[in-house]
Each structure stands twice: as structure tokens, then as C-alpha cells.
């Protein structure tokens, strides 16, 4: 049951972009076309889930037992950087077309706050729908995967909106990023309607 709550909460109630403000930079950069938005979401989903798996284990079996939790930030970001590098190499071999389509955005996933944010949240934040507050590995993975689904959802919706906006007459001072951010604000307002769903 709690897995269901974790999933609903991560996708709708606490959407990573619209409620937690993580992953905004690539969100604004990639979402002007639906096709790149979908590709990017899948790459981010993969990286977030895998990164959470590895960082959770690193934290549990390396940082905590040796009491070097203060090295958490460095360790986590190194894991993420290494993972993204690996994903790049694998993707180049397995699907060169997707690799080309993502271009510069693939290495940029390293600096996507969503990835590091989820990794840190999973080992430090106390969650309300789990007794004791701290997640175990299974719950952490479900949370990470659901969070990235929420990221994808927000991105795809937004890409659709932006494709329409591009065809419209926008005042000069608003053109480009400002009108995009204001649209995200309205989207965030809509998503606020989900709050209170889990409780």
C-alpha cells in the first residue's frame, strides 16, 4: 500500500519540478520540442533510478559504517558523474541516434539538481507515509523511479504548452524564458490541486 502512496505523492503531490523546484535548468532548455522532451525524460529517469540505487548503497555500506558522512556530497556527485559518463558510452554504442538527439544535454544530466536532490533526499529526509521515516532500498528505488516519472510528466505537458506558445503573439519583453516561467507557474498552480491527496 505504501508503494502506491509513494508513487502518487512523488508524481503529483510533490512533483519534483513543480513543487520541489529541482531540475529546472534542463526543464527550460529541453522542453521546447516534444520529441527532445520525451528523450530527455527517459534518460533522466534511467540516471535518477540508477544513481539512487548506487548512492543509497554507498551511503549505507561505506559512509555510515566508517562515520564519514561529511563526505556525502563529494561521494554522491562523483558517483553521478561516473554513471552519466557510463550511460554516454553505452548509449553511443546501443542507440547512436538517441545519443545524437540528446547532444549536449546528456553530460548536463550530471549537473541536474534533480539527480543529486533525489539521491540526498532518499537518505536524509523523513517521509510521512513510512513508519520511522527513513526509506529502505526498495522504497527508495520506487520513490526515485516515480519522481522521474513525475519529471517526465511535467516536461511533456510543458513541451506541449511551449509548442503552442511559439505559434502565438507574445509581447517582446515576455518572449522566450519569461513567458515560459510564467506558464510553469500556472501549471504549478494547477498541480497544487493535488495537495492533500495523500493524507
Amino acid at each position: 500500500m505504501e508503494y502506491f502512496l509513494i508513487i502518487i505523492s512523488a508524481i503529483f503531490v510533490n512533483n519534483i519540478v513543480l513543487a520541489q523546484f529541482l531540475g529546472i535548468c534542463p526543464y527550460l532548455g529541453v522542453s521546447n520540442k516534444l520529441s527532445t522532451a520525451t528523450g530527455m525524460s527517459m534518460a533522466v529517469c534511467f540516471v535518477i533510478t540508477l544513481a539512487t540505487l548506487v548512492t543509497f548503497l554507498v551511503n549505507k555500506y561505506l559512509l555510515v559504517p566508517f562515520q564519514i558522512e561529511f563526505l556525502q556530497t563529494i561521494a554522491f556527485i562523483l558517483v553521478i558523474a561516473a554513471l552519466v559518463q557510463m550511460v554516454e558510452i553505452v548509449l553511443k554504442k546501443v542507440s547512436p541516434s538517441l545519443y545524437q538527439a540528446l547532444g549536449i544535454f546528456l553530460p548536463l544530466i550530471t549537473t541536474n539538481c534533480a539527480v543529486l536532490g533525489v539521491a540526498i533526499n532518499v537518505v536524509t529526509k523523513e517521509f510521512s507515509f513510512v513508519p520511522g521515516g527513513m526509506l529502505n532500498l526498495g522504497q527508495a528505488l520506487v520513490y526515485a523511479f516515480a519522481t522521474s516519472l513525475g519529471y517526465g510528466l511535467a516536461m511533456v505537458i510543458f513541451a506541449g504548452i511551449r509548442e503552442h506558445l511559439a505559434l502565438n503573439d507574445v509581447p517582446k519583453a515576455f518572449k522566450g524564458v519569461p513567458i515560459a516561467i510564467i506558464s510553469v507557474g500556472i501549471l504549478a498552480l494547477a498541480f497544487m490541486g493535488f495537495s492533500g491527496m495523500v493524507k
Binding site: A19, F21, I74, I77, N112, P178, I181, I182, G185
Partner: protein, 195 residues
């Protein structure tokens, strides 16, 4: 280039929030009040200046293919240093800013300035660049935080001018962040962009 020019550039010409469009995540998340925004800005400034200086000094001896991980480790070190110092001496603000302190590591501004400036210039100039961009960031965050605080809680820098601390709640929460930032960008464009 004069050192003072470097610092001044960070405020308008290279303003990270309104011109470079970097560091959006902490901008939106930590500006629930003017003080919070200002603290986040100053924390980022601390990391920016130090990492710019360190990377500027290290750049000549770092092999090209491995420079990104090395820069990231250096930045992460300063961020962790900041974490430890804040936990020890400003615990209340440490808890308020929460997750976004370690997230300074992936703040595109820090790595961005390292790549664009620090690894091509001297240590002192890089420090000035870090100071300028950091000040620009702090100003943007403080202004955004102030607007959201006035509209959302009826106070400014913690001083309540509407009794009971009531305001338009939406501005202290997620949508308000996006809306305020968007409109402030429009204002900035109208005031400072010549095209």
C-alpha cells in the same frame, strides 16, 4: 580588465538569474523571504569566490579529459566546508536552506563560471569574477525574496507590516515563485536590455 569592472559586470551584464539564466532551482526554492534569499546568495558567493580561485590556480596542471570531475571535486569540497561551517555556527539558517546547500555543487553558476572564466584567467581576476557574479546572484535572490515576502506574508526582512502575517499565500508557495520570477524577468528586460 579592471577588477572593479569585473565585479560590476556580475550585477547587470552577467547577472546569473536574469541574463545567464543559471541557478534557477535555488532561486525559486529559497526565496520564500528576503533573508532566506540573501543567505542563499551569500552561501553561493562563498563557494563561487573560493572555487574560482582554486580552479584558476589548478587549471594549468589539470589534463583536459579529466578536468570536469576534478573541478566538481574541488567545488564539492568547498560546498562541504560550507555545510560544516553553517551546521556549527548558523544552525537555524542551515535547517531553513536544507537540501539546497549541498545542491550548490550542481548549481550551474559555479561550474559555469569555472569553465567560462576561472580556467582562463588569473587567481585574483577569477576571485573578482566570482565576487561579482555572486553579488549579482545575491541581489536577484534578495529582490525576489523580498517581493514574495511582501506579497505572501505581509512582511519585509521579517518585519511585519500587515498584522497577523497574512498575505497572498500562493506567493510563498511554488506557483508564486515561478510567477514572480517571470514578471521580474520581464521588468529586468524592459529596464536593462537595449534590444
Amino acid at each position: 580588465m579592471s577588477k572593479l569592472r569585473l565585479i560590476g559586470d556580475g550585477l547587470v551584464k552577467n547577472n546569473p538569474t536574469f541574463v545567464l539564466l543559471l541557478g534557477m532551482c535555488p532561486t525559486l526554492a529559497t526565496t520564500t523571504s528576503a533573508i532566506n534569499g540573501m543567505s542563499m546568495g551569500l552561501a553561493t558567493l562563498f563557494v563561487l569566490v573560493l572555487s574560482n580561485m582554486a580552479i584558476s590556480a589548478l587549471a594549468p596542471v589539470v589534463p583536459d579529459k579529466v578536468h570536469i570531475p576534478v573541478y566538481i571535486v574541488v567545488i564539492a569540497t568547498f560546498v562541504t566546508l560550507l555545510q560544516l561551517l553553517m551546521q556549527a555556527f548558523t544552525p537555524a539558517m542551515y535547517e531553513t536552506l536544507g537540501l539546497f546547500i549541498p545542491l550548490i555543487v550542481v548549481n550551474c553558476i559555479v561550474l559555469g563560471r569555472a569553465e567560462a572564466f576561472a580556467n582562463k584567467h588569473g587567481v585574483l581576476e577569477s576571485a573578482c569574477d566570482g565576487l561579482g557574479v555572486g553579488l549579482g546572484f545575491t541581489c536577484s535572490l534578495t529582490v525576489l525574496g523580498l517581493v514574495r515576502e511582501i506579497l505572501g506574508s505581509g512582511s519585509a526582512f521579517g518585519w511585519n507590516f500587515i498584522g497577523g502575517g497574512d498575505g497572498m499565500l500562493a506567493f510563498v508557495m511554488a506557483p508564486g515563485a515561478f510567477l514572480c520570477l517571470g514578471y521580474l524577468m520581464v521588468l529586468f528586460n524592459k529596464l536593462f536590455k537595449k534590444n
